[in-house]
């Protein structure tokens, strides 16, 4: 009986170490990905896959723009539409090089990051259905 207990503990420890190792690798990959794309997360309440989607979308669009000419409105529009389509309404996006903000956002729907010298605020708010009574 004791042998079985020890075996269970050994397996449990082994699984925990595997999970920990996987987490560490994922964090390292995320860090490398951010470094490579020149992204810095300033504030965040958002799952990693959504964050990465925002970074990738912003990076692709910035790369497609002529250098020295930032079309911040286009970047904001694209990110907003992308997230509205994929994750439901209502997302809001502010893009610029100098702005302050104070917002109320839905749980898990907020990220503020910089990419190159551009700052991006992307957040979600709850949508109340229109009362047609």
């Amino acid at each position: 009986m004791e042998g079985a207990q020890e075996e269970l503990e050994r397996r449990s420890k082994f699984l925990k170490s595997l999970i920990q190792k996987k987490k560490t690798i994922e964090q390292q990959e995320q860090h490398d990905h951010l470094q490579h794309n020149n992204v810095r997360v300033r504030a965040c309440d958002m799952p990693l896959p959504l964050q990465n989607r925002a970074f990738r979308c912003a990076r692709d669009l910035l790369d497609s723009m002529p250098s020295k000419k930032l079309d911040s409105k286009r970047l904001a529009l694209t990110l907003k539409k992308e997230f509205d389509t994929s994750y439901g309404p209502a997302w809001h996006c502010i893009v610029g090089t100098s702005f302050g903000s104070y917002v109320t956002h839905s749980f898990g729907g907020f990220v503020y990051f910089s990419i190159d010298k551009v700052y991006v605020l992307l957040f979600k708010t709850a949508v109340e259905p229109l009362d047609h009574s």
């Binding site: 302050g100 109320t104 708010t125």
Partner: protein
Amino acid sequence: MLEGKAVIGETDMLQTMQQDATDLASKALDFFDVTEAIEIARFIKKEFDRMHGPGWQCM
């Protein structure tokens, strides 16, 4: 009180609320330095939440 006229760029808001917004912006600039953007935004947002119900955003 801060001198100078507020210029409204684009709007979809009642005239009275527009007036509240410009008044609050002016008040915020009396309270805070122009570089304290987050504090200014926080002040206007909180006041609008109080005056006109929750859910306002300010940049």
